[in-house]
Protein backbone atom coordinates (compact mmCIF):
# COMPACT_ATOMS: atom_id res chain seq x y z
CA UNK A 1 0.00 0.00 0.00
CA UNK A 2 1.53 3.33 -0.91
CA UNK A 3 1.77 6.27 1.45
CA UNK A 4 -1.01 8.26 -0.20
CA UNK A 5 -3.63 5.50 0.02
CA UNK A 6 -2.52 4.84 3.60
CA UNK A 7 -3.32 8.49 4.44
CA UNK A 8 -6.63 8.34 2.61
CA UNK A 9 -7.61 5.16 4.41
CA UNK A 10 -7.01 6.68 7.82
CA UNK A 11 -8.62 9.97 6.85
CA UNK A 12 -11.67 8.27 5.42
CA UNK A 13 -11.84 6.06 8.48
CA UNK A 14 -12.02 9.10 10.73
CA UNK A 15 -14.50 10.88 8.48
CA UNK A 16 -16.72 7.80 8.21
CA UNK A 17 -16.70 7.25 11.93
CA UNK A 18 -17.52 10.90 12.53
CA UNK A 19 -20.31 11.00 9.97
CA UNK A 20 -21.88 7.78 11.20
CA UNK A 21 -21.72 8.94 14.76
CA UNK A 22 -23.44 12.27 14.11
CA UNK A 23 -25.93 10.84 11.60
CA UNK A 24 -27.18 8.27 14.06
CA UNK A 25 -27.17 10.89 16.78
CA UNK A 26 -25.23 8.21 18.65
CA UNK A 27 -24.26 8.78 22.23
CA UNK A 28 -21.21 10.97 22.75
CA UNK A 29 -19.22 7.83 23.54
CA UNK A 30 -18.77 6.77 19.89
CA UNK A 31 -17.42 10.20 18.93
CA UNK A 32 -15.33 10.22 22.04
CA UNK A 33 -13.76 6.87 21.16
CA UNK A 34 -13.01 7.96 17.59
CA UNK A 35 -11.38 11.21 18.59
CA UNK A 36 -9.41 9.46 21.32
CA UNK A 37 -8.09 6.99 18.75
CA UNK A 38 -7.17 9.87 16.46
CA UNK A 39 -5.38 11.58 19.32
CA UNK A 40 -3.32 8.50 20.13
CA UNK A 41 -2.46 8.04 16.47
CA UNK A 42 -1.54 11.71 16.13
CA UNK A 43 0.75 11.53 19.13
CA UNK A 44 2.45 8.46 17.69
CA UNK A 45 2.89 10.24 14.38
CA UNK A 46 4.33 13.40 15.91
CA UNK A 47 6.64 11.42 18.18
CA UNK A 48 7.94 9.49 15.19
CA UNK A 49 8.29 12.72 13.23
CA UNK A 50 10.42 14.20 15.99
CA UNK A 51 12.76 11.21 15.79
CA UNK A 52 12.98 11.36 12.03
CA UNK A 53 13.72 15.08 11.92
CA UNK A 54 15.98 14.95 14.98
CA UNK A 55 17.67 11.96 13.42
CA UNK A 56 18.66 13.61 10.19
CA UNK A 57 19.77 16.72 12.05
CA UNK A 58 22.12 14.59 14.16
CA UNK A 59 23.21 12.89 10.95
CA UNK A 60 24.17 16.33 9.66
CA UNK A 61 26.57 16.62 12.59
CA UNK A 62 28.71 14.06 10.79
CA UNK A 63 29.31 16.68 8.12
CA UNK A 64 30.08 19.12 10.90
CA UNK A 65 32.70 16.91 12.52
CA UNK A 66 34.23 16.11 9.15
CA UNK A 67 34.58 19.75 8.11
CA UNK A 68 35.84 20.83 11.52
CA UNK A 69 38.53 18.16 11.54
CA UNK A 70 39.45 18.69 7.89
CA UNK A 71 39.99 22.36 8.63
CA UNK A 72 42.10 21.85 11.74
CA UNK A 73 44.57 19.29 10.39
CA UNK A 74 47.42 20.12 8.02
CA UNK A 75 46.83 19.89 4.24
CA UNK A 76 48.87 16.75 3.88
CA UNK A 77 46.50 14.85 6.18
CA UNK A 78 43.11 16.20 5.11
CA UNK A 79 42.07 13.37 2.77
CA UNK A 80 42.82 10.81 5.47
CA UNK A 81 40.62 12.72 7.91
CA UNK A 82 37.78 12.84 5.38
CA UNK A 83 38.17 9.12 4.70
CA UNK A 84 38.18 8.29 8.43
CA UNK A 85 34.98 10.22 8.97
CA UNK A 86 33.12 8.65 6.05
CA UNK A 87 34.27 5.21 7.10
CA UNK A 88 33.66 5.47 10.83
CA UNK A 89 30.18 6.89 10.40
CA UNK A 90 29.16 4.17 8.01
CA UNK A 91 30.72 1.42 10.10
CA UNK A 92 29.16 2.73 13.31
CA UNK A 93 25.69 2.60 11.79
CA UNK A 94 26.04 -0.97 10.63
CA UNK A 95 27.56 -2.26 13.85
CA UNK A 96 24.82 -0.49 15.81
CA UNK A 97 22.22 -2.27 13.67
CA UNK A 98 23.91 -5.66 14.14
CA UNK A 99 24.73 -5.45 17.84
CA UNK A 100 24.38 -2.07 19.48
CA UNK A 101 20.68 -1.26 19.32
CA UNK A 102 19.40 -4.26 21.23
CA UNK A 103 22.26 -4.17 23.73
CA UNK A 104 21.27 -0.58 24.45
CA UNK A 105 17.49 -1.07 24.50
CA UNK A 106 16.71 -4.60 25.66
CA UNK A 107 13.15 -3.51 26.57
CA UNK A 108 13.29 -5.45 29.80
CA UNK A 109 14.99 -8.56 28.37
CA UNK A 110 18.31 -8.06 30.16
CA UNK A 111 20.89 -10.82 29.83
CA UNK A 112 22.35 -9.69 33.13
CA UNK A 113 20.15 -7.79 35.54
CA UNK A 114 16.52 -6.69 35.53
CA UNK A 115 14.55 -3.46 35.18
CA UNK A 116 13.55 -3.39 38.86
CA UNK A 117 16.88 -4.26 40.46
CA UNK A 118 19.18 -2.75 37.87
CA UNK A 119 19.99 -3.76 34.31
CA UNK A 120 23.61 -4.35 33.38
CA UNK A 121 23.93 -6.14 30.04
CA UNK A 122 21.17 -5.92 27.46
CA UNK A 123 19.96 -8.24 24.73
CA UNK A 124 21.84 -9.77 21.83
CA UNK A 125 20.19 -9.47 18.46
CA UNK A 126 20.02 -7.65 15.18
CA UNK A 127 17.74 -4.61 15.08
CA UNK A 128 14.35 -5.27 13.48
CA UNK A 129 11.90 -2.66 12.26
CA UNK A 130 8.11 -2.89 12.01
CA UNK A 131 6.53 -4.49 8.92
CA UNK A 132 5.73 -2.47 5.81
CA UNK A 133 2.50 -0.50 6.08
CA UNK A 134 1.96 -1.34 9.74
CA UNK A 135 -1.48 -0.57 11.14
CA UNK A 136 -2.23 0.17 14.79
CA UNK A 137 -2.26 -3.52 15.69
CA UNK A 138 1.09 -4.25 14.00
CA UNK A 139 3.03 -1.50 15.80
CA UNK A 140 5.63 -2.33 18.43
CA UNK A 141 4.42 0.42 20.76
CA UNK A 142 1.44 2.62 19.81
CA UNK A 143 2.07 4.78 22.86
CA UNK A 144 5.58 5.71 21.74
CA UNK A 145 6.87 6.00 18.17
CA UNK A 146 7.72 3.83 15.19
CA UNK A 147 10.63 1.48 15.84
CA UNK A 148 12.25 2.64 12.62
CA UNK A 149 12.29 6.26 13.70
CA UNK A 150 13.60 5.35 17.14
CA UNK A 151 16.32 3.13 15.65
CA UNK A 152 17.27 5.79 13.10
CA UNK A 153 17.53 8.47 15.77
CA UNK A 154 19.57 6.36 18.18
CA UNK A 155 21.89 5.13 15.46
CA UNK A 156 22.95 8.71 14.79
CA UNK A 157 23.88 9.16 18.44
CA UNK A 158 26.11 6.10 18.36
CA UNK A 159 27.79 7.29 15.19
CA UNK A 160 28.28 10.77 16.68
CA UNK A 161 30.08 9.24 19.67
CA UNK A 162 32.50 7.52 17.33
CA UNK A 163 33.13 10.77 15.45
CA UNK A 164 34.43 12.42 18.60
CA UNK A 165 37.38 10.04 18.76
CA UNK A 166 38.67 10.66 15.23
CA UNK A 167 39.53 14.32 15.77
CA UNK A 168 41.82 13.83 18.75
CA UNK A 169 43.86 11.09 17.13
CA UNK A 170 44.36 12.69 13.71
CA UNK A 171 47.54 12.94 11.66
CA UNK A 172 49.31 9.83 12.98
CA UNK A 173 46.85 6.95 13.43
CA UNK A 174 46.43 4.06 11.00
CA UNK A 175 43.03 3.82 9.35
CA UNK A 176 42.11 0.14 9.87
CA UNK A 177 43.05 -0.29 13.53
CA UNK A 178 41.11 2.90 14.18
CA UNK A 179 38.06 1.38 12.49
CA UNK A 180 38.42 -1.77 14.58
CA UNK A 181 38.26 0.42 17.66
CA UNK A 182 35.18 2.20 16.28
CA UNK A 183 33.46 -1.16 15.79
CA UNK A 184 34.13 -2.10 19.42
CA UNK A 185 33.10 1.34 20.64
CA UNK A 186 29.76 1.39 18.83
CA UNK A 187 29.07 -2.33 19.19
CA UNK A 188 29.91 -2.79 22.85
CA UNK A 189 31.30 0.10 24.88
CA UNK A 190 28.80 2.78 23.92
CA UNK A 191 25.61 0.68 23.94
CA UNK A 192 26.38 -1.06 27.23
CA UNK A 193 26.97 2.14 29.21
CA UNK A 194 24.11 3.85 27.38
CA UNK A 195 21.78 1.03 28.37
CA UNK A 196 22.62 1.75 32.01
CA UNK A 197 20.93 5.12 31.64
CA UNK A 198 18.68 5.29 28.57
CA UNK A 199 17.90 1.59 28.28
CA UNK A 200 16.47 1.61 31.77
CA UNK A 201 19.57 0.16 33.38
CA UNK A 202 20.96 0.58 36.86
CA UNK A 203 22.20 4.16 36.58
CA UNK A 204 18.65 5.17 35.80
CA UNK A 205 16.67 2.84 38.05
CA UNK A 206 19.03 2.58 41.03
CA UNK A 207 20.97 5.86 41.07
CA UNK A 208 18.50 8.32 39.57
CA UNK A 209 21.15 9.58 37.14
CA UNK A 210 19.98 12.43 34.90
CA UNK A 211 21.50 12.95 31.45
CA UNK A 212 18.93 14.35 29.05
CA UNK A 213 20.74 14.04 25.72
CA UNK A 214 24.12 12.65 26.69
CA UNK A 215 26.76 14.99 28.16
CA UNK A 216 28.04 11.82 29.84
CA UNK A 217 26.49 9.04 27.77
CA UNK A 218 27.69 10.39 24.43
CA UNK A 219 30.18 13.21 24.86
CA UNK A 220 32.26 12.15 27.83
CA UNK A 221 32.27 8.60 26.43
CA UNK A 222 33.78 9.87 23.19
CA UNK A 223 36.14 11.99 25.26
CA UNK A 224 37.31 9.10 27.46
CA UNK A 225 37.89 6.91 24.42
CA UNK A 226 39.81 9.73 22.77
CA UNK A 227 41.91 10.33 25.89
CA UNK A 228 42.80 6.64 26.14
CA UNK A 229 43.71 6.64 22.47
CA UNK A 230 45.82 9.77 22.72
CA UNK A 231 47.78 8.32 25.64
CA UNK A 232 48.47 5.02 23.88
CA UNK A 233 49.14 6.59 20.49
CA UNK A 234 51.49 9.34 21.59
CA UNK A 235 51.92 12.86 20.32
CA UNK A 236 52.61 13.86 16.75
CA UNK A 237 56.28 14.00 15.80
CA UNK A 238 57.78 17.42 16.50
CA UNK A 239 54.93 18.67 18.66
CA UNK A 240 56.69 18.85 22.00
CA UNK A 241 60.31 19.93 22.50
CA UNK A 242 62.66 18.66 25.19
CA UNK A 243 62.67 21.99 26.99
CA UNK A 244 58.88 21.97 27.35
CA UNK A 245 58.34 23.84 24.09
CA UNK A 246 54.99 23.34 22.40
CA UNK A 247 55.09 23.65 18.61
CA UNK A 248 51.84 24.71 16.95
CA UNK A 249 50.67 22.77 13.92
CA UNK A 250 48.30 25.15 12.21
CA UNK A 251 44.98 24.12 10.76
CA UNK A 252 44.90 24.14 6.96
CA UNK A 253 41.44 25.57 6.36
CA UNK A 254 39.78 27.78 8.95
CA UNK A 255 36.70 28.51 6.82
CA UNK A 256 35.96 24.76 6.76
CA UNK A 257 36.55 24.49 10.49
CA UNK A 258 34.13 27.35 11.12
CA UNK A 259 31.53 25.94 8.75
CA UNK A 260 31.87 22.60 10.53
CA UNK A 261 31.21 24.27 13.85
CA UNK A 262 28.06 25.98 12.58
CA UNK A 263 26.88 22.68 11.11
CA UNK A 264 27.42 20.93 14.45
CA UNK A 265 25.54 23.76 16.18
CA UNK A 266 22.58 23.25 13.84
CA UNK A 267 22.63 19.47 14.25
CA UNK A 268 22.55 19.91 18.02
CA UNK A 269 18.97 21.16 17.83
CA UNK A 270 18.08 17.67 16.69
CA UNK A 271 20.44 16.11 19.23
CA UNK A 272 18.91 17.85 22.23
CA UNK A 273 15.44 18.55 20.84
CA UNK A 274 14.91 14.99 19.70
CA UNK A 275 15.86 13.72 23.13
CA UNK A 276 12.51 14.96 24.45
CA UNK A 277 11.38 11.65 22.90
CA UNK A 278 7.84 12.95 22.35
CA UNK A 279 6.11 15.75 20.46
CA UNK A 280 2.45 14.85 20.84
CA UNK A 281 1.30 17.22 23.56
CA UNK A 282 1.34 20.94 24.31
CA UNK A 283 3.85 20.27 27.07
CA UNK A 284 6.14 18.37 24.72
CA UNK A 285 6.23 21.12 22.14
CA UNK A 286 6.84 23.89 24.66
CA UNK A 287 9.58 21.72 26.15
CA UNK A 288 11.20 21.23 22.77
CA UNK A 289 10.98 24.99 22.23
CA UNK A 290 12.83 25.59 25.50
CA UNK A 291 15.40 22.98 24.50
CA UNK A 292 16.11 24.62 21.14
CA UNK A 293 16.42 28.07 22.73
CA UNK A 294 18.62 26.85 25.59
CA UNK A 295 20.83 24.79 23.33
CA UNK A 296 21.36 27.79 21.12
CA UNK A 297 22.14 30.23 23.89
CA UNK A 298 24.59 27.83 25.51
CA UNK A 299 26.59 27.73 22.28
CA UNK A 300 26.59 31.51 22.16
CA UNK A 301 27.73 31.73 25.76
CA UNK A 302 30.57 29.33 25.11
CA UNK A 303 31.73 31.16 21.99
CA UNK A 304 31.66 34.57 23.66
CA UNK A 305 33.43 33.32 26.75
CA UNK A 306 36.22 31.90 24.60
CA UNK A 307 36.40 35.10 22.55
CA UNK A 308 36.76 37.32 25.61
CA UNK A 309 39.08 34.96 27.47
CA UNK A 310 41.52 34.48 24.59
CA UNK A 311 41.57 38.25 24.03
CA UNK A 312 42.43 38.79 27.69
CA UNK A 313 44.97 35.96 27.98
CA UNK A 314 46.70 36.24 24.62
CA UNK A 315 45.99 39.88 23.58
CA UNK A 316 44.41 38.46 20.40
CA UNK A 317 41.31 36.25 20.08
CA UNK A 318 41.92 32.73 18.76
CA UNK A 319 39.30 31.59 16.26
CA UNK A 320 39.97 27.89 16.84
CA UNK A 321 39.34 28.39 20.57
CA UNK A 322 36.12 30.26 19.84
CA UNK A 323 34.97 27.32 17.73
CA UNK A 324 35.87 24.93 20.55
CA UNK A 325 34.13 27.26 23.00
CA UNK A 326 30.83 27.16 21.13
CA UNK A 327 30.97 23.37 20.97
CA UNK A 328 31.87 23.10 24.65
CA UNK A 329 28.83 25.22 25.44
CA UNK A 330 26.68 22.84 23.43
CA UNK A 331 28.17 19.81 25.18
CA UNK A 332 27.65 21.39 28.59
CA UNK A 333 23.94 22.10 28.06
CA UNK A 334 23.32 18.63 26.64
CA UNK A 335 22.85 16.99 30.05
CA UNK A 336 19.94 19.30 30.86
CA UNK A 337 18.72 21.59 28.07
CA UNK A 338 15.14 21.71 29.37
CA UNK A 339 15.02 23.05 32.91
CA UNK A 340 17.47 25.98 32.83
CA UNK A 341 16.31 29.51 32.12
CA UNK A 342 17.85 31.20 29.11
CA UNK A 343 20.21 33.06 31.42
CA UNK A 344 21.28 29.89 33.21
CA UNK A 345 21.80 28.08 29.93
CA UNK A 346 24.01 30.90 28.66
CA UNK A 347 26.14 30.72 31.80
CA UNK A 348 26.38 26.94 31.68
CA UNK A 349 27.60 27.24 28.10
CA UNK A 350 29.98 30.06 29.00
CA UNK A 351 31.58 27.89 31.68
CA UNK A 352 32.15 25.26 29.00
CA UNK A 353 33.94 27.86 26.90
CA UNK A 354 36.12 28.90 29.84
CA UNK A 355 37.03 25.29 30.61
CA UNK A 356 38.16 24.72 27.04
CA UNK A 357 40.43 27.78 26.87
CA UNK A 358 42.35 26.58 29.94
CA UNK A 359 42.21 22.88 29.15
CA UNK A 360 43.77 23.01 25.68
CA UNK A 361 47.17 24.36 26.79
CA UNK A 362 46.98 22.22 29.91
CA UNK A 363 46.84 19.04 27.82
CA UNK A 364 49.80 20.29 25.83
CA UNK A 365 51.73 20.78 29.07
CA UNK A 366 51.00 17.13 29.87
CA UNK A 367 52.14 16.23 26.34
CA UNK A 368 48.72 14.80 25.47
CA UNK A 369 48.35 15.72 21.81
CA UNK A 370 44.70 16.35 20.96
CA UNK A 371 44.58 17.77 17.45
CA UNK A 372 41.14 19.41 17.59
CA UNK A 373 40.49 19.87 21.31
CA UNK A 374 38.06 16.95 21.46
CA UNK A 375 39.03 16.04 25.02
CA UNK A 376 38.41 19.50 26.51
CA UNK A 377 35.21 19.96 24.50
CA UNK A 378 33.62 16.56 24.99
CA UNK A 379 35.14 15.10 28.13
CA UNK A 380 35.76 18.09 30.40
CA UNK A 381 32.74 20.11 29.29
CA UNK A 382 30.72 16.90 29.37
CA UNK A 383 31.57 16.32 33.02
CA UNK A 384 30.81 19.96 33.83
CA UNK A 385 27.46 19.76 32.02
CA UNK A 386 26.53 16.60 33.88
CA UNK A 387 27.26 18.23 37.22
CA UNK A 388 25.50 21.47 36.19
CA UNK A 389 22.21 19.55 36.13
CA UNK A 390 22.28 19.91 39.94
CA UNK A 391 21.84 23.68 39.57
CA UNK A 392 18.68 23.60 37.51
CA UNK A 393 16.93 20.28 38.05
CA UNK A 394 15.81 19.53 41.62
CA UNK A 395 15.45 15.83 40.82
CA UNK A 396 19.20 15.45 40.35
CA UNK A 397 21.29 14.21 43.26
CA UNK A 398 24.98 14.78 43.87
CA UNK A 399 25.49 11.07 44.43
CA UNK A 400 23.59 10.12 41.27
CA UNK A 401 25.44 12.52 39.02
CA UNK A 402 28.93 12.12 40.44
CA UNK A 403 28.83 8.36 40.88
CA UNK A 404 27.51 7.88 37.35
CA UNK A 405 30.23 10.07 35.89
CA UNK A 406 32.81 7.96 37.67
CA UNK A 407 31.25 4.61 36.77
CA UNK A 408 30.89 5.47 33.10
CA UNK A 409 34.35 7.06 33.09
CA UNK A 410 36.11 4.07 34.57
CA UNK A 411 34.22 1.62 32.37
CA UNK A 412 34.88 3.47 29.12
CA UNK A 413 38.43 4.60 29.84
CA UNK A 414 39.70 1.26 31.09
CA UNK A 415 38.15 -0.80 28.32
CA UNK A 416 39.21 1.69 25.66
CA UNK A 417 42.74 1.76 27.00
CA UNK A 418 42.95 -2.02 26.94
CA UNK A 419 41.58 -2.19 23.41
CA UNK A 420 44.03 0.44 22.19
CA UNK A 421 46.90 -1.43 23.83
CA UNK A 422 45.85 -4.70 22.20
CA UNK A 423 45.54 -3.01 18.81
CA UNK A 424 48.95 -1.43 19.32
CA UNK A 425 50.50 -4.80 20.14
CA UNK A 426 48.82 -6.69 17.30
CA UNK A 427 48.12 -4.44 14.30
CA UNK A 428 50.11 -1.41 15.38
CA UNK A 429 48.13 1.81 15.55
CA UNK A 430 50.63 4.43 14.45
CA UNK A 431 52.01 5.06 10.97
CA UNK A 432 55.77 5.12 10.44
CA UNK A 433 57.53 8.36 11.20
CA UNK A 434 58.36 8.82 7.52
CA UNK A 435 54.70 8.44 6.59
CA UNK A 436 53.74 10.91 9.27
CA UNK A 437 56.25 13.49 8.06
CA UNK A 438 55.33 13.10 4.39
CA UNK A 439 51.64 13.15 5.20
CA UNK A 440 49.06 10.39 5.48
CA UNK A 441 47.28 11.46 2.28
CA UNK A 442 50.13 10.45 -0.01
CA UNK A 443 51.57 7.58 2.00
CA UNK A 444 48.38 5.84 3.14
CA UNK A 445 45.93 6.86 0.43
CA UNK A 446 47.93 8.08 -2.54
CA UNK A 447 45.55 10.99 -2.88
CA UNK A 448 45.97 14.70 -2.07
CA UNK A 449 43.25 16.97 -0.76
CA UNK A 450 44.60 20.09 -2.49
CA UNK A 451 46.58 18.68 -5.41
CA UNK A 452 47.22 22.03 -7.08
CA UNK A 453 48.52 23.73 -3.97
CA UNK A 454 51.80 23.11 -2.25
CA UNK A 455 51.60 20.72 0.68
CA UNK A 456 53.17 21.99 3.83
Amino acid sequence: MNKFSKKMNKFSKIITTGVLASAMAAPALAQEAASQEAAVHTQFIFNSLLFLIGGFLVFWMAAGFTMLEAGLVRSKNVTMQLTKNMALFSLAGIIYYLVGYNLMYPLGNWMIGADETGGYIGAIGVAALEVVGAGADALDDLSYASTGSDFFFQLMFAAATASIVSGALAERIKLWPFLVFVAILTGLIYPIQASWKWGGGFLDSQLGFLDFAGSTVVHSVGGWAALAGALVLGARTGRYGKDGRVVPFHGSNLPLATLGTFILWMGWFGFNGGSQLAMGTLGDVTDISRIFANTNTAAMGGALAALVLTQLLYKKPDLTMILNGALAGLVAITAEPLTPTLGQATLIGAMGGIIVVFAVPMLDKLKIDDVVGAIPVHLFAGIWGTMAVLFTNPEATLKGQLLSIVIVGVFVFVISYVVWMILKATMGIRVSQEAEINGLDMTELGMEAYPDFTNR
Partner: protein, 112 residues
Protein backbone atom coordinates in the same frame (compact mmCIF):
# COMPACT_ATOMS: atom_id res chain seq x y z
CA UNK B 1 72.90 39.82 -20.80
CA UNK B 2 72.09 40.21 -17.15
CA UNK B 3 69.88 38.15 -14.84
CA UNK B 4 68.12 40.44 -12.38
CA UNK B 5 66.73 38.75 -9.24
CA UNK B 6 64.55 40.79 -6.92
CA UNK B 7 62.60 40.09 -3.74
CA UNK B 8 59.77 42.56 -3.17
CA UNK B 9 56.68 42.97 -1.01
CA UNK B 10 53.78 41.00 -2.56
CA UNK B 11 51.37 43.93 -2.87
CA UNK B 12 53.97 45.83 -4.95
CA UNK B 13 53.95 43.32 -7.77
CA UNK B 14 51.51 45.09 -10.06
CA UNK B 15 53.25 48.45 -9.68
CA UNK B 16 56.66 46.91 -10.38
CA UNK B 17 55.41 44.95 -13.38
CA UNK B 18 53.99 48.12 -14.91
CA UNK B 19 57.25 50.01 -14.35
CA UNK B 20 59.24 47.20 -15.98
CA UNK B 21 56.96 47.04 -19.01
CA UNK B 22 57.36 50.81 -19.49
CA UNK B 23 61.15 50.43 -19.49
CA UNK B 24 60.99 47.69 -22.10
CA UNK B 25 61.32 44.44 -20.18
CA UNK B 26 59.49 41.87 -22.26
CA UNK B 27 59.57 38.79 -20.05
CA UNK B 28 59.32 38.08 -16.34
CA UNK B 29 59.28 35.10 -13.99
CA UNK B 30 57.45 35.43 -10.70
CA UNK B 31 57.36 33.08 -7.72
CA UNK B 32 55.91 33.20 -4.22
CA UNK B 33 58.61 32.85 -1.59
CA UNK B 34 59.14 33.37 2.09
CA UNK B 35 62.17 35.07 3.44
CA UNK B 36 63.78 37.42 5.90
CA UNK B 37 66.55 39.97 5.84
CA UNK B 38 67.60 41.93 8.88
CA UNK B 39 63.95 42.16 10.04
CA UNK B 40 63.52 40.48 13.40
CA UNK B 41 60.92 37.73 13.68
CA UNK B 42 57.85 38.28 15.85
CA UNK B 43 55.93 36.02 18.27
CA UNK B 44 52.37 34.77 17.82
CA UNK B 45 50.14 32.32 19.77
CA UNK B 46 48.13 29.39 18.39
CA UNK B 47 45.92 27.53 20.83
CA UNK B 48 48.01 28.65 23.75
CA UNK B 49 51.38 27.72 22.22
CA UNK B 50 53.83 30.50 21.33
CA UNK B 51 55.75 30.42 18.09
CA UNK B 52 58.10 32.79 16.26
CA UNK B 53 57.25 33.91 12.75
CA UNK B 54 60.66 34.11 11.06
CA UNK B 55 59.66 34.04 7.42
CA UNK B 56 57.60 36.72 5.72
CA UNK B 57 55.87 36.10 2.39
CA UNK B 58 57.58 37.88 -0.50
CA UNK B 59 57.46 37.82 -4.29
CA UNK B 60 60.61 36.89 -6.21
CA UNK B 61 61.04 38.30 -9.70
CA UNK B 62 63.57 37.01 -12.19
CA UNK B 63 64.24 38.54 -15.57
CA UNK B 64 67.01 38.42 -18.15
CA UNK B 65 67.66 41.74 -19.93
CA UNK B 66 70.14 43.18 -22.41
CA UNK B 67 73.28 44.72 -20.91
CA UNK B 68 72.46 48.25 -22.03
CA UNK B 69 69.18 48.54 -20.14
CA UNK B 70 70.18 46.55 -17.04
CA UNK B 71 71.00 49.60 -14.91
CA UNK B 72 67.76 51.41 -15.78
CA UNK B 73 65.77 48.28 -15.03
CA UNK B 74 67.33 48.02 -11.57
CA UNK B 75 66.56 51.70 -10.85
CA UNK B 76 62.98 51.49 -12.08
CA UNK B 77 62.37 48.26 -10.19
CA UNK B 78 63.71 49.65 -6.93
CA UNK B 79 61.77 52.89 -7.29
CA UNK B 80 58.49 51.08 -7.87
CA UNK B 81 59.07 48.55 -5.09
CA UNK B 82 60.10 51.06 -2.42
CA UNK B 83 57.79 51.96 0.48
CA UNK B 84 60.43 53.25 2.88
CA UNK B 85 59.59 50.75 5.64
CA UNK B 86 61.40 47.59 6.70
CA UNK B 87 61.13 44.62 4.33
CA UNK B 88 61.14 46.44 0.98
CA UNK B 89 63.46 43.78 -0.43
CA UNK B 90 66.65 43.40 -2.44
CA UNK B 91 67.82 43.37 -6.08
CA UNK B 92 70.74 41.33 -7.43
CA UNK B 93 72.35 41.36 -10.85
CA UNK B 94 74.19 38.39 -12.34
CA UNK B 95 75.84 37.70 -15.67
CA UNK B 96 74.13 35.39 -18.13
CA UNK B 97 76.07 33.11 -20.48
CA UNK B 98 73.44 31.98 -23.00
CA UNK B 99 69.77 32.51 -23.79
CA UNK B 100 67.59 30.59 -26.18
CA UNK B 101 64.02 31.08 -27.42
CA UNK B 102 62.54 27.58 -27.52
CA UNK B 103 60.04 28.13 -30.32
CA UNK B 104 62.40 29.68 -32.89
CA UNK B 105 65.88 28.72 -31.77
CA UNK B 106 67.05 32.35 -31.58
CA UNK B 107 69.94 32.95 -29.22
CA UNK B 108 71.61 35.86 -27.50
CA UNK B 109 69.90 39.25 -27.29
CA UNK B 110 67.33 38.17 -29.91
CA UNK B 111 66.04 35.56 -27.45
CA UNK B 112 65.18 38.19 -24.82
Amino acid sequence: MKLIIAAIKPFKLEEVREALTTIGVQGLMVSEIKGYGRQAGHTEIYRGAEYVVNFIPKIKLEMVVADDIAEQVVEALAAAAKTGSIGDGKVFVLNVETSLRVRTGETGDEAL
